[in-house]
């Protein structure tokens, strides 16, 4: 059995979570302490199995009242795929107008997520 410490990234509380894990072929969590909410427990299970993260970046906009639109994943992606997803985001150019929530890229690097705009961009005057 091993003990692992995690810092939960679900919310700004950043709870320290201590987990005892049985080291068989598939880890079985035998004990968790420190997570102050259900989401933290769910998160730590996921973190042991396959860490997932959301990321934010921006894409170039043409014909808009600003030159960049901020974007983010609308579902978490595997930590190990972040740089591949970023490579695909960097290739994207969108044409104004753009509204918050508009999908600018689907399933980057094969991930089950969409890259959505987090800023509205109006057409240039």
């Amino acid at each position: 059995m091993s003990t692992k410490e995690f810092t939960c990234v679900v919310c700004p509380n950043g709870c320290p979570i201590v987990v005892n894990i049985d080291d068989d072929e598939t880890p079985v969590i035998t004990h968790i302490e420190g997570s102050t909410c259900k989401k933290g427990e769910e998160w730590v299970h996921q973190e042991i199995e396959n860490p997932m993260r959301t990321i934010s970046s921006s894409v170039v906009v043409t014909g808009g009242d600003c030159i960049l639109a901020s974007v983010r994943t609308n579902r978490p992606i595997p930590l190990g795929r972040i740089m591949k997803v970023m490579e695909e985001i960097k290739q994207v150019t969108v044409i104004a107008p753009l509204a918050i929530g508009d999908v600018v890229l689907r399933n980057p690097a094969g991930c089950d997520t969409e890259i959505v705009a987090t800023r509205s961009v109006a057409k240039a005057q």
């Binding site: 950043g14 901020s70 918050i100 987090t118």
Partner: protein
């Protein structure tokens, strides 16, 4: 030619998270004559460049990016009939609440019934912490680099060192990495990080970026462009230990070394200031020492979460509207609040005793399993147990007026036990 003077009931200075929430709250409290002034060409303030998520967990129960969080507020302004002046700078503010404002091509005066100060804060620079060395390009405050990258599509460098482990520095370590830069390390002069624990995890650990505590930059080198920095461990007195000094080649140094409330206008108006927070002294309505001038958000004291800025600003906006409508005088009764052991500052610094209020405070050092205790003389008003106390995390405690009345007295002391 005379400069014209216009009248507005409530004037909010600053269109960031504080100003937006204050203007909306003033309007919702029944004030139909609210003016929001912003110097940038768009509303939202610093939220516009904070494209990472984590905003709104308290306000909206979901994780939003900064621009989305701002949009939730901005979208409500037209429906409430709130007047907005963007691209407008307030040049001066008098104790009589006369604002001198400059828009492109015009200067005008505004007589305000009440003013809400919501100008936010700015970053400490290299000059403020006096790093020795040459003066090459490539040394940026973390927020300036964030603006270049997220707003202007300008990448600021390739090999990066970051001084200061505040949240902006940590966020930028990740952002620079995602944009293809190599982040060498983050250096923090204190024995602990001043950023949120989750940002240590998701911005540094996730990308194998080391964090060196008790370490600072001792020299900046470079002709034209930054070529490298010298770093050294510091002793208990925070003085660098020469034998630990080492040289790290890099072309970019980001500084995340603290924020300063931007209070030039506040001082202009003769408002009494708190030397610790760098903001105004306020009462339980967020009114300053000058009647009718209110303060909230990062211009009052630097927050770690935008959500708490919104909550605080909403109160300030509501009380500003009430001041205009009720011509409310400052309460005669005053209970002053002072910092005791383990507490760096408290806010508000005085209360009326007439209403419940939220006490905001920061502690002086990290602790575990302590209690924050509010006392009037030897009588206990409130005691709150807290598992993790950290100087980087603001603590908010609600204090009931009944508990205050039961304890009596004219001053409170807040301490960590």
């Amino acid at each position: 030619m005379s400069i014209k003077t216009i009248h507005r009931d409530v004037v909010v200075i600053g269109g960031g998270p504080a100003g937006l929430a204050a203007a909306i709250a003033a309007s919702e409290a029944g004030c139909k004559d609210v003016l929001l002034i912003e110097r940038d060409r768009i509303l939202g303030g610093i939220l516009n460049q904070c494209i990472h998520d984590g905003f709104g967990l308290h306000e909206f129960k979901e994780a939003l990016s900064g621009p989305e969080y701002a949009a939730r507020f901005i979208n409500r302004l037209p429906g409430l009939g709130i007047e907005v002046m963007t691209g407008t700078i307030v040049l001066s503010l008098s104790p009589e609440r006369i604002l001198e404002v400059s828009t492109r091509g015009a200067i005008q005066y505004i007589q305000a019934g009440a003013v809400v100060l919501a100008m936010g804060c700015r970053e400490r620079t290299r000059g403020a912490i006096s790093i020795p060395g040459q003066r090459p390009s490539g040394v940026y405050t973390a927020g300036a680099a964030q603006n270049f990258i997220n707003m202007e599509n300008i990448m600021v460098g390739k090999n990066v060192c970051i001084l200061g482990s505040g949240d902006i520095g940590l966020i930028m370590a990740r952002r620079m990495t995602l944009e293809g830069a190599h982040v060498e390390a983050v250096f923090e002069i204190l024995p602990y990080s001043s950023g949120l624990p989750r940002n240590i995890q998701q911005c540094l650990n996730d990308y194998n970026i080391p964090l060196f505590l008790n370490t600072t930059v001792t020299e900046i080198r470079g002709n034209g462009r930054l070529e490298g920095v010298k770093v050294a461990q510091v002793g208990k007195d925070r003085a660098p230990i020469p034998e630990t000094e080492r040289y790290i080649p890099c072309d970019t140094l980001l500084l995340s070394v603290g924020l300063i409330p931007e209070n030039e206008l506040t001082r202009d108006a003769g408002v009494a200031m708190d030397p610790i927070t760098g903001g105004a002294l306020v009462d339980d309505t967020f009114m300053t020492s000058v009647p009718g001038i209110f303060s909230c958000g990062n211009v009052l004291h630097v927050h770690d979460l935008a959500d708490w800025v919104s909550v605080e600003a909403r109160d300030a906006g509501r009380f500003a509207a009430a001041y205009v409508h009720e011509k409310r005088e400052a309460s005669r009764q005053r209970i002053t609040i002072k910092e005791g052991d383990g507490v760096r500052y408290v806010l508000p610094q005085s209360v009326s005793g007439e209403r419940d209020f939220i006490l905001s405070l920061r502690v002086t050092a990290p602790w575990r399993n302590r209690a924050v205790v509010v006392r009037s003389g030897d009588k206990k008003v409130r005691r709150k147990k807290i598992v993790r106390l950290h100087p980087a995390e603001m603590i908010r405690i609600n204090i009931g007026k009944d508990a205050l009345a039961a304890a009596g007295g004219s001053s409170l002391e807040v301490s960590v036990e």
